[in-house]
Symmetry: C2
Subunit: 409 residues, 2 copies
């Protein structure tokens, strides 16, 4: 971004979802997770336009269906529970998701159709509605603004996450300030399209629903859909955004200066939340940034990036701090996208390790220093087109095995 | 198989590749792997028809190209080295592969076009031809028959394998006996289409090349292409079969009784070798047999099986002896094949854990007993068609991470 754009917004340190005008939030203990907050509520004082991006898994949880439906309406709230995914729960699951929206609507005096619902946690177990009902009442009563409300909501959506994931930005335009804020959760079962990840964003600009969806889809493609921890795409992945217009007369329309700033900020906030998720990847010791340059189109580049970042052999090589480019090019080769192996250049950190598909000598000693860092960048140049994509992944460690063989999630 | 087929063949315990008439073999130490056998030679006294199935990876090693080419000819030998894959080695790699065939042809007084070549090991490093040349001479001089020759050849193709993989069968027909024998290697980077696996089969029947290819492709689909250890498809995967007609007037033609027996035996021997590979899967503590029933077609069933058996979350759940069917149905859902989640039944061992996509109560105590076994069977019924496929995979353990973070392969 150029300096003009950069000056157009600031990050509000320590703040989260209620930094945006006209939004309140809460997070309460309802008893789904032992002693931890497990129901979050995000509430808009005004009707908001909403947009969403959902899991591409054919098996989709009941709340995902409900969200898609309610997204069409002017929305006022989203209620989220952690500890139970309400997935593979059949007709009862659909009834329970609907009851969650009804219950929240009742507590907040809203139309049920204006409340979205999201769930994350164990699959195949019916929701404990006897805990959820009073939990929603408590969350409605606890709604507030400020740093505590921000953190309460962010904590209540966590599952195996080890850190709270929230951020907030203030944008500056000639017509005044506006905000974009969000919370996210996820640390395992993370894979493009999408992850067991939830992200809830809010903004106080005014924007048409269709345009919001277009910009949000674009931002998600470059962020939540460009990260992978273990290649598993969950049944519940959901990213939602609500825009309530509380910032006054700042309306985002295509081509305006505000549009340009808003779009950049939206890409940036999604990228920041996505990287928080990867950073918290289960058992991670390295965060790998992978750039694939020179592909004919972005879609192909993304498929190749995913193939490499999901390869257990690539991931364990990075864990072992081994510059094993042979495993990288092999994973590129089985991605299912056409390219010429004999044009491929590969760089790990500052060092070229392959040129035109063959080995380039490098210092194992210098390379070891690069691979001992927590952050490793890999660049692959296919020399076969104009596109460039960036994706993020993790290594695979003993701790990953510990976490996933011990926990029924 | 029915009892008639079963009686039509016997397994020759302790025997391998030279159990088939007219074949000799050897395995020698050429210095590519420290102190271990690393060049194998399989030689046919008569011209043989050959068929092959190769890696689907876009990045293919030089010997794979050479094999495809020489397969068209009447063949007499295959020379194999372990310790170096001759992959990503560019023009020099192609020249080296060709020189291997020339060198073996010279040592055995054959046409170079009748010698196939195969390599396995590290990627991106030029072949040490100064070691390979005398190694091929030594292998030619060492050719022999019997149990020692069998084992020498089987050992020389191993990389991270922990056990020798060989088998031999004798078939009985009204016109006399014939044989089918094979060796294989592979234990990591194993995935359908194909694995870093090599398999070399020989038979002394007479059969047209086109028919041999048809039957061999079918057998590979149900065996080597139905196993997965880590989802990584290598640059070098090769399965070859040679048929030299040394058994006399037993010619396999479609529709005959011999044809039926040969086809069954071929499927069986490929399945046995494939299971030896999975059994030796890196860090394996469980071998998972997965049946997918009720899919509209086999191709879709295979894609679904692969998605489940490659899922790190499914694999670590089995390592943790956790009957986590939610992870199984989630992996089914992102396979990219259409099905109705609300029809899916899942069984683990003898117990049903999901019916019509929802939970079925089961005894955690009884299930734990099942999951403590080394062999676990999972059956998924999609109730949406006539096809049934079987695939095999492994769990993912701490030891898998150890092996793959410590070894540049």
């Amino acid at each position: 971004m150029d300096s003009k754009e950069k000056e157009s917004w600031i990050k509000l340190e320590g703040r989260g979802i209620t930094a945006a005008g006209g939004f309140k939030a809460s997070g309460v203990v309802a008893g789904l997770k032992k002693g931890k907050k497990d129901i979050a509520l995000i509430y808009s004082e005004k009707e908001a336009a909403a947009a969403g991006v959902f899991t591409s898994n054919l098996v989709q949880a009941a709340p995902v269906y409900l969200c898609r439906e309610h997204l069409e309406n002017p929305v006022r709230a989203v209620v989220i529970n952690s500890g139970n995914a309400n997935a593979c729960t059949g007709e009862q699951g659909r009834l329970d998701a609907r009851e969650m929206s009804l219950k929240a609507a009742e507590a907040l005096s809203l139309d049920a159709g204006s409340v979205m619902v999201s769930s994350t946690g164990v699959i195949g177990v019916p929701l404990p509605m006897d805990k959820i009902r009073p939990g929603i009442d408590a969350a409605a009563a606890a709604l507030g603004k400020g740093a505590q409300a921000d953190t309460d909501a962010a904590e209540a959506i966590m599952t195996t996450d080890t850190v709270v994931k929230q951020t907030a930005y203030r944008g500056r335009t000639s017509r005044g300030d506006f905000h974009l804020a969000g919370i996210a959760k996820g640390s395992g079962m993370i894979c493009p399209n999408m992850a067991t990840m939830l992200a809830f964003l809010v903004t106080d600009v005014k924007i048409e629903r269709a345009l919001l969806q277009e910009l949000f889809s674009e931002a998600c493609d470059k962020s939540f859909n460009a990260i992978t921890v273990d290649g598993d795409t969950s049944t519940n992945d959901t990213a939602l955004i609500m825009a309530n217009g509380a910032a006054g007369d700042i309306e985002i329309v295509p081509g305006s200066e505000d549009y340009f700033i808003f779009r950049q900020m939206l890409n940036e906030i999604c990228r920041e939340l996505a990287l928080m998720i990867v950073e918290d990847g289960e058992g991670l010791t390295k965060l790998i940034t992978l750039k694939i340059k020179g592909s004919p189109d972005e879609a192909g580049g993304r498929v190749m990036a995913r193939s490499i970042l999901n390869s257990p052999l690539v991931k364990t090589a990075f864990y072992g701090e081994d510059a094993n480019w042979g495993r990288i090019i092999a994973a590129l080769g089985y991605a299912g996208v056409a390219f010429n192996p004999e044009l491929v250049d590969i760089y790990i950190g500052p060092y070229q390790v392959a040129a035109n598909g063959g080995a380039v000598p490098f210092s194992e000693v210098e390379m070891k220093k690069i691979l001992q860092n927590r952050y490793v960048t890999v660049v692959i140049d296919l020399k076969n087109g104009p596109s460039e994509v960036t994706a993020w992944g993790t290594d695979m460690s003993h701790e990953y095995i510990n976490i996933n063989s011990d926990y029924r999630s």
